[in-house]
């Protein structure tokens, strides 16, 4: 439906986008996730037509739209901080796009009213936009774009200005609306939780490139590089060197800590390569005595522990000085603490639960 082919963009000396390829299919909800300055907003502005790419092509429904300017594109945007017109009321804001394309006034009224209903704002068209709460403004911004029935809806961190609770609620609303209108959504965010929550697929961007594109599960459980592993969720890192043991299995020697089984990708099976052994916090288990039931064990002590309701967060210092975090589900209803700060503990994990990154995966 939407194809982005080799799109690049430079601002002066700074590369904002470096040969971006992306395919989005009809009705899909794709998030573009990345830290600020990674180029995600530039990509969105290029999709909207507010910025021209230096090279590359944009295809929308088999039509090349690279040179089509913003006001002639069937693409609409929900802007960061909404960009509602302060001199118009809700109705006129929502009707703006329809009136620009000279839709007859009775039809405008019908479609705007329909949208106001969708946004739970029925009968409030006369209110000024400055009198709205953040959540309401967000919904007006959404329907102002949706009322034009765009082929593609772009959302630029639309929930960024809201408090956490409202955000979670609006995330669900947004997904529900998307399911109803079946419009293709491209959603830009720097919030990994938001991306994982809402999207069919997530494109993780870093330094002007898409580093991984996949379902939320793929992105979280099978990150292709250290950056993705780090950016999406919590991950612990132990630096070591790769080696093949006597039985031919690949292991990682972590200095003054131990030797652990790892599963590097085929092209990275090079002995002697330095790399990072990574395990997510919730996949680590704590033991008070050295366990024999897990593939890998590291020794350390508890520096601090934080009770967080659903789980407890343990900050550990491993024997070699590396700091790691372990999350343990609070499955038991008990006031008794199994572990105390200062306790000597063992951390265990299965090899399949770990990641091993080396070479250019470390960038």
């Amino acid at each position: 439906m939407l194809q982005v082919i080799g799109v690049s963009k430079k601002f002066g000396q700074k590369t904002a986008l470096n040969s971006i390829d992306l395919n989005v299919s009809h009705g899909e909800f794709v998030s573009i996730l990345g830290p600020s300055g990674c180029g995600k907003t530039t990509l969105l502005r290029i999709l909207a037509g507010l910025e021209k790419p230096d090279s590359g092509k944009l295809i929308l429904d088999e039509k090349d739209i690279t040179q089509v300017s913003a006001h002639h594109r069937d693409v609409h945007t929900v802007f960061q901080r909404y960009a509602l017109f302060p001199h118009m009321n809700i109705f006129d804001n929502v009707a703006f796009g329809l009136r620009c394309s000279r839709v007859a006034e009775p039809e405008v009224k019908r479609r705007v009213d329909e949208m106001l209903e969708l946004a739970n704002l029925s009968g409030q068209g006369k209110r000024t936009v400055t009198s709205l709460s953040g959540g309401e403004q967000q919904r007006v911004a959404l329907i102002r774009a949706l009322v034009n029935m765009p082929k593609l809806l772009l959302l630029d961190e639309p929930l960024g200005a809201l408090d956490l609770k409202l955000r979670l609620q609006l995330q669900q609303e947004l997904v529900a609306i998307q399911r109803r209108v079946k419009t293709t959504f491209v959603f830009v965010t720097h919030d990994q939780q938001e991306a994982l929550n809402m999207s069919d697929r997530v494109a993780v961007m870093n330094k002007a490139k898409i580093v991984q594109l996949g379902t939320p599960l793929e992105i979280y459980e099978f990150p292709k590089c250290l950056f993705v592993a780090n950016f999406v969720g919590n991950i612990n890192r132990m630096d070591g060197k790769l080696r093949q043991d006597d039985a031919g299995r690949w292991v990682c020697d972590v200095e003054s800590l131990g030797t652990y089984f790892v599963e590097p990708t085929e092209e990275n099976k090079v002995a002697g390569q330095p790399g990072a052994l990574c395990v997510r916090s919730e996949k680590l288990s704590l033991f008070s005595r050295k366990p024999s039931t897990v593939d890998n064990v590291a020794e350390g002590s508890i520096r601090a522990l934080t009770y967080l309701g659903t789980h407890t967060q343990f900050d550990l210092t491993l024997k070699n000085g590396t700091g790691i975090q372990v999350f343990q589900q609070n499955t038991q209803k008990t006031a008794k603490k199994v572990f105390q700060a200062g306790d000597k503990v063992f951390v265990g994990w299965h090899t399949a639960q770990s990641h091993y990154f080396t070479g250019n995966q470390l960038q």
Partner: protein, 287 residues
Amino acid sequence: MIQGLRYRRFSGVAWFWALSLVIAPLLYVVIISFMSRGAYGGVVWTMTLDNYLRIAEPDNLAILGASLTRSVGLAFVTTLMCVAVGFPLALFLVFRSGRFRQALFFLLIIPFWTNFLIRTYAWMVLLSDNGWINHLLEKIGFGPQALNWLFTPQAVLIGMFYNYLPYMAMSLYVSVEKLDPKLLDAAADLGAGPLKRFFKVIVPLCGPGLAAGSIMVFIPAMGEFVIPDILGGGTSLFIGNLLAQQFLVVRHWPYGAALSVVLMVLVGVCIALFEKYGNGSKEDLLA
């Protein structure tokens, strides 16, 4: 508490300024408009309504009406020209001038460093039959003395436009600068072309600046008498000339003061009507 005191002190300064420089002279004008003229000019302190009655005489009323119409027309055209050039200029300064923005804005202010009379006489030099503009036109092949604009209404308009443009441009600049560029992106995104963006988003949001700029141009332009004198050759009487004559030539101060009061009341009524029926936001208009 300390803040409050400090504000009060400042408001004292503001009051002093307003009283001594605005209200007192105004009151003085109103008072002498009810006084008589001395035999050799000056003011004799005997109360009379003669000045106002004199204005109501048909001949004088005709002169007042004609010069007022001329002045309003000139002020109106000047304001239109200033908007027509000032708006694109302000937009250019804010959105397109990039790193030259400060420098260009500075250029807008520089003319104020020169005396207003000198600037206006400079236009006389430029526009005269043997002036620079005619020389330039001759150089590019328009023949000798192609423009005979000095002492014509065109010359007056050029002078007015030149002198009042910065006020309009600056007050629009302030408005345009406050405009969120995201709103223009949003309008483009929703299908508005450049013209629609200008008339549906920029103009309504710059309404206060436009109103303030128009008042800053229109009102002084209406009382202007020096530019029509210098560049128009004093061939037609504007309300400003009429007033200046009473004070400086005829030396009938009370009558001049009465004319001023009438003019002030008229302008006041106009602004009040504009505020009441105009669609601009009231509070910004005179702020």
